[in-house]
């Protein structure tokens, strides 16, 4: 029996995937390199802009923003002040700005793609049954795997980092948008229909406002996931705090690794609390 299994020819899935990749890279190279160039230019400009702002002003802006977004409470504002000053003090400010750019771009792209996809899913059960397994696939495939096509398409640097992060971080926004809209009480959807709403009136005046807090929870998850890709993306040359962690790992510098990691944690907490309290405010 074993013999029989061993004698079966290996299914050449890996070569197939590779030739598909080759075909894509060779036929769409112009397209990919155009994206690569514009993306890189855009992102380096944003990073330069962020670095160009004096650190103290940016820190104060974040602190003031945190104070008002959390409903005039001091907790997050104080944490942001101390945390960001610590990062600056450790000489990680530039890296933090690079990470910010990466997270910003991958989150925005994920949201721009994710919300319409989620809406499509909620409106069509066919779309849902097609997209759902793809999302499962995207979420369970280890994040590292996305690095390979990212490098093939876009070389190394921040652009493939954003590409891999988008794939990894997209699913929660899509899922939660779908869920939020499907959870709109039937009677309210009927009320919208019975008054003769067009489907876009129903969507924008009733469904999205009612699904808003669920969608915001999805966006929060997406932002956090793209942040978690920062270290992984640094393996293909994405700059930022992640690269510091990676360098420390490669040189077994425990101290440096800890400091850079701590910087990431601080950044993550600030972003998480900010996006969450944004959501709470909207619920009122």
């Amino acid at each position: 029996m074993n013999n029989f299994l061993d004698n079966l020819p290996t299914l050449p899935l890996a070569p197939w995937v590779e030739s598909a990749m080759d075909w894509l890279t060779s036929n769409f190279s112009v397209f990919f390199s155009a994206i690569q160039k514009t993306g890189k230019l855009l992102m380096s400009q944003v990073t330069d802009l962020l670095i160009g702002i004096p650190a103290i002003i940016l820190i104060l802006l974040v602190v003031i923003f945190a104070f008002f977004v959390t409903g005039k409470k001091y907790g997050l504002a104080a944490f942001s002040l101390i945390g960001l000053l610590f990062i600056y003090n450790q000489g990680l400010w530039t890296h933090l700005m690079e990470t910010t750019t990466l997270v910003l771009f991958s989150s925005v792209i994920s949201i721009v793609i994710g919300i319409p996809l989620g809406i499509l899913m909620s409106k069509s059960s066919v779309a849902e049954s097609i997209i759902k397994p793809i999302l499962d696939f995207m979420q369970t495939m280890p994040g590292f795997v996305y690095l390979i096509p990212a490098v093939a398409f876009f070389g190394i640097g921040i652009v493939p980092g954003v590409f891999a992060s988008v794939i990894f971080a997209l699913p929660p926004t899509v899922r939660m948008t779908n869920l939020g809209i499907r959870q709109v009480p039937k009677e309210l959807a009927e009320a919208a229909d019975s008054y003769g709403s067009t489907s876009s009136q129903k969507l924008f005046k009733v469904e999205i406002p009612l699904a808003k807090s669920t969608i915001m929870a999805g966006i929060n998850q997406t932002v956090m996931l793209s942040l978690s890709m920062v270290v992984i993306a640094s393996m293909i040359g994405a700059p930022g705090l992640g690269r510091e962690v990676l360098t420390a790992l490669q040189r077994t510098q425990v101290g440096n690794g800890f400091v850079a990691g701590l910087g990431l944690v601080i950044f993550a907490i600030i972003i998480d609390r900010l996006t969450q309290s944004f959501n709470k405010k909207k619920e009122l």
């Binding site: 009677e187 009320a191 229909d193 019975s194 008054y195 003769g196 067009t198 005046k205 406002p209």
Partner: protein, 399 residues
């Protein structure tokens, strides 16, 4: 004049719809169809007409298909078969745009759980129908405010629905429907989610409104008493079919079959009146808050000489009389604690009126109807006697 005409309309849910429809045409029963095809028949060969300015009630128990039927009229649910005409236009064959125009201009719907948008203020809710029709901001604000004013809720226009009681929310639901100035109102169990007292109030309001508005109203309910109270004509549904259509009188005196007969008997039985049926809104003071001056003022407003006394949780504490309140006010007392008399007769809401009659003759005060110590209403001698005598008259007629 005929406003709505429904012709042989059926709605089948599930698979094998053509086969199921074939069986519907062969007049097979709903259970047979389910057995043979696996399809559920929601509405089964329904035909009726509604005249202009009429309140047409569709009455049936849950699962009888009444909510499905009303949704077929504005095609929130697509009919599987049959024709629906409104003003001679065939709704069931209409394209999307034409249907939208009809929904926008001809009919508005009121929902069982109010269907108000929680993210919009009352004014914005009331404006909704006008807003999606693209009516200018100024005009829709004026119309919506007028509709809210008619419902007595203009003062609350910037509140959100969840800040209001059920009765008030449904007034908004009705105001939203009326702001659109539709010719037809579809009311799906509109008052079923409300307390009995509020429900009665809303029924009266609807009847008052109808006096001046003369809309064509299709009203769904599971409550035959409600149907008899407001319906010009009533259709009784069972298992998706309409069993009998007629005026309340016709249905009571001449039930079409045993099913309707048991229903009607049920009504008579429920008219064995209980305290809840005859109680009136209590006039009370809050002993934790109100003083004697407030109590006197309230007595003047409501023209009563006795007030119930409750605490902030509406638990019954007793009653106060006008004489005592006057004396306390002269003594400049700040609270009514000293004058609350606690000897008061109480009854549960499901106690029979017959049994209460003896008590109420001997009681110097109204009788309080309480449940879990909370004051629900009061029984006044006159009202109880009136309720009992009108019931007895009706009973004699039926015998």
């Amino acid at each position: 004049m005929e406003k709505i005409k429904v012709e042989h309309v059926s709605k089948v849910f599930g698979k094998h719809i053509p086969q199921a429809l074939e069986l519907v045409k062969q007049q097979k029963s709903k259970t047979d169809i389910l057995k043979e095809t696996g399809a559920t028949v929601g509405v089964y060969d329904a035909s009726f007409t509604v005249n202009e300015g009429e309140i047409f009630v569709i009455m049936g128990l849950s699962g009888s298909g009444k909510s499905t039927l009303i949704r077929l009229l504005n095609r929130l649910i697509e009919p599987t078969n049959g024709n629906i005409f409104i003003d001679g236009e065939n709704i069931s064959k209409m394209g999307k745009d034409a249907l939208r125009t009809v929904r926008r201009n001809k009919m508005s719907m009121v929902f069982q759980n109010f269907g108000l948008f929680p993210h919009r203020t009352l004014l914005q809710n009331t404006e909704y129908g006008l807003e999606i029709r693209g009516i200018s901001k100024e005009e829709r604000k004026t119309k919506a405010e007028q509709a809210l004013a008619n419902a007595g809720l203009l003062a609350y226009k910037d509140q959100y629905p969840n800040q209001l009681s059920g009765g008030m929310q449904q007034r908004v639901g009705l105001a939203r429907a009326l702001a659109n100035d539709p010719e037809i109102l579809l009311m799906d169990e509109a008052f079923s989610a409300l307390d009995p007292l509020i429900r009665k109030e809303m029924q009266d309001e609807l009847l008052d409104l109808q006096q001046s508005l003369k809309k064509t109203i299709l009203f769904i309910t599971h409550d035959l008493n409600e149907a008899l109270r407001i319906g010009d004509r009533i259709a009784i549904m069972k298992d998706g079919s309409i069993i009998q259509i007629g005026t309340g009188e016709e249905i009571l005196t001449n039930p079409a079959n045993d099913y309707v007969r048991t229903f009607v008997e049920d009504v008579d039985r429920s008219k064995v009146l209980t305290a809840e049926n005859a109680m009136v809104r209590p006039v009370y003071v809050n002993v934790d808050l109100d003083g004697p001056t407030v109590a006197l003022k309230r007595m003047r407003e409501e023209t009563v000489s006795i007030l119930m006394a409750v605490d902030k949780n509406r638990k019954l504490k007793g009653y106060i009389t006008a004489d005592d309140a006057l004396a306390a006010a002269k003594r400049h007392e700040q609270t009514v604690h000293s004058i609350v008399q606690s000897e008061i007769l109480t009854v549960p809401p499901d106690m029979l009126l017959q049994d209460i009659l003896g008590m109420i003759y001997n009681s110097p005060t109204p009788i309080a109807v309480v449940k879990d110590e909370r004051l629900l209403g009061v029984l006044i001698r006159g009202v109880v006697i009136e309720a009992l005598s009108s019931f007895n008259e009706e009973a004699e007629v039926h015998e």
